[in-house]
Symmetry: C2
């Protein structure tokens, strides 16, 4: 379906010492004044004046988080950066630097790894962050990419998971479930292709969910929009594991309960259509699918008028006392307790 | 020889959601005032006042960098932190925070992973750094650990690789080759054990080199000693890949050549003895062995009197014009051009 490792042929071992490192990290201009020294010393040097620094890290493992049968290497590089930047935006901060550690087995060619770095470079350009360091190593099998992202914010602007309070409105950006349905589609076409290699994948018309899965974007615009609207969320988190899991995080860390209204959950029409095709319910997909990289946040009830009607945001519930717990209110107004997800989702979670 | 994965039995999958994360990151007190928020949000928050921030990252991969046949999990955790802190000290900075990303296959039990974190906790305590974040994920096979270390320094104190100048003295801390000989010893005893499982490993009397390999320390004391002596190095790097490789880095980035005197290279008597036993030359081991985590630096000739005779330091050469290149002067005064090492060493290198 897409490019395979080693369709081009320079073995990594052919490069001279540090040749790989130099090759991969060239053409990464430093864009931020805070990046004093990037790649090329024992450590990078950063200068942050009068702001706080936020730091997050995420590791993607071949066979667990991605499958090169249908994930092009450029997209892997792009997505690996984006999932980290999403965490920075979830602090209401601006990302400024990343470091990239890559472990690759000898099954991968230089050209393949360069394509991963092409994707990393594209993300650095779109999100205006600087690659300032990293580590390249061999692996026994497969490919792992671990990225650390660094950002800045004024102390007063940082939003934690812990500030939600009773009567706050629960808001989500964008729509949910697309990334998960993109994955279902790719997995189905992979099975078809494996059983009959003459079959061509049927992906036309599904660009939206495929993009949500293969080349997600972080909501860089949300902190900007909120600032322009004069709204500071009381708590915020990004949706990497699914709406249910993220709501439970906000509840636990804020010491509150939440009511989520099923009929308010924003779902793209294509996700509805695909859920029918795959015999899934959209609510389950939104609650447990994950990887949407939308931002979920609570705002003071007094700020609700400011975001009401804004096409970027949907109010999906509100904050209640902790004793009520976190519940989904279905279309026929039944309360269903939100539960944590299984191991798979947990494995992807930050800590 | 040492503990194997799964000699104790809690499968990781038995823990509830986020149970593993909570379990692993409990009992990590925050020691640094700059650690505003540690584990538990989308990102950690750090506040650095009037200083610069240095950041470095290193990934260790099972089967490439370590072998659980003879590496106890506590030591792996300890060493994974230390190799990163060494890079921070090599900037003449003080480490303050780390993030830890861990990928593990289902072959590993909770108890085994907890032992890795015991080692991480021990290193955090000894070096007074805070664990502020990370990521835990499953792997398809094997165990990978990726650590990012953050440190601070006054802008005027930071030492890059690029400041060495003609006539500077080349100095190294401690002694070299021990970590490599420790590895040779462990590999030999592993082979013996594999061919006859009744054989017990012969490791007595070799504690020094074993410690150098299994539980190395970063030279936390060196920046302190240099400050007390009133010496600021003109360039500095830590020895992770071997003396030869590190000298070439300093030369390239400073635009200079260097003369290294074979008879000055500090070697522990046990390393001499083991080299004889293994039919290796101590100079080759020091030049190419790596993993000693000593600091290699250049100082102004005028500062030489201040460090002369100090038991922590040995002057091993000096800086010459770039056109001379980097050469080893042997005991019989022949010049041998220092060369970069092969792929293996390169793979471990930072960039």
């Amino acid at each position: 379906m897409s490019e395979k490792p080693n369709e081009e042929f320079t073995p990594i071992s052919e490069l001279g010492e540090f040749g790989l490192i130099n090759k991969l990290t060239e053409r990464f201009p430093l864009r931020n004044a805070s990046s004093i020294k990037g790649v090329g010393d024992d450590a990078a040097v950063i200068e942050v004046l009068d702001k706080q620094t936020v730091i997050t890290t995420d590791m993607l493992v071949e066979g667990v988080h991605f499958d090169f049968t249908y994930v092009p290497p450029q997209h892997l590089g792009y997505k690996a950066v984006v999932v980290n930047l999403s965490d920075i935006y979830a602090m209401n901060a601006r990302p400024t630097q990343i470091t990239v550690s890559l472990a690759v087995s000898n099954r991968f060619s230089l050209e393949f790894i360069e394509k991963i770095y092409e994707g990393i470079r594209a993300a650095c350009s779109v999100y205006e962050v600087d690659l300032v360091g990293g580590d390249t190593t061999s692996s026994y099998s497969g490919l792992m990419i671990s990225i650390t992202a660094i950002g800045q914010a004024d102390e007063k602007d940082i939003v934690y998971r812990s500030g939600a309070k009773e009567n706050d409105v629960l808001v989500v950006s964008g729509d949910l479930g697309g990334a998960y349905m993109g994955l279902q589609l790719l997995e189905r076409e992979k099975s078809v292709f494996e059983s009959d290699q003459n079959m061509q994948p049927q992906l036309e018309g599904h660009e939206y969910v495929l993009q949500r899965q293969l080349k997600p974007e972080a909501r860089k615009d949300v902190p900007e929009i909120l600032e322009a609207l004069g709204v500071k969320p009381t708590a915020m988190i990004d949706i990497s594991d699914g709406l249910s899991s993220e709501i439970l995080h906000l509840c636990k860390q804020s010491g509150v309960g939440m009511r989520l209204h099923e009929d308010k959950i924003p779902i793209d029409p294509m996700v509805y259509k695909l859920c029918e095709e795959f015999d899934l319910t959209t609510t389950t997909v939104a609650l447990s699918g994950g990887e949407d990289y939308e931002l979920l946040f609570t705002i003071d009830l007094g700020d609700y008028e400011k975001i009401k009607g804004n096409p970027n945001f949907t109010a999906i519930g509100h904050v209640v006392p902790e004793s009520e717990g976190a519940n989904l209110f279905t279309r026929d107004d039944k309360a269903i307790r939100l539960t944590a997800q299984g191991w798979d989702a947990m494995l992807r979670a930050d800590h």
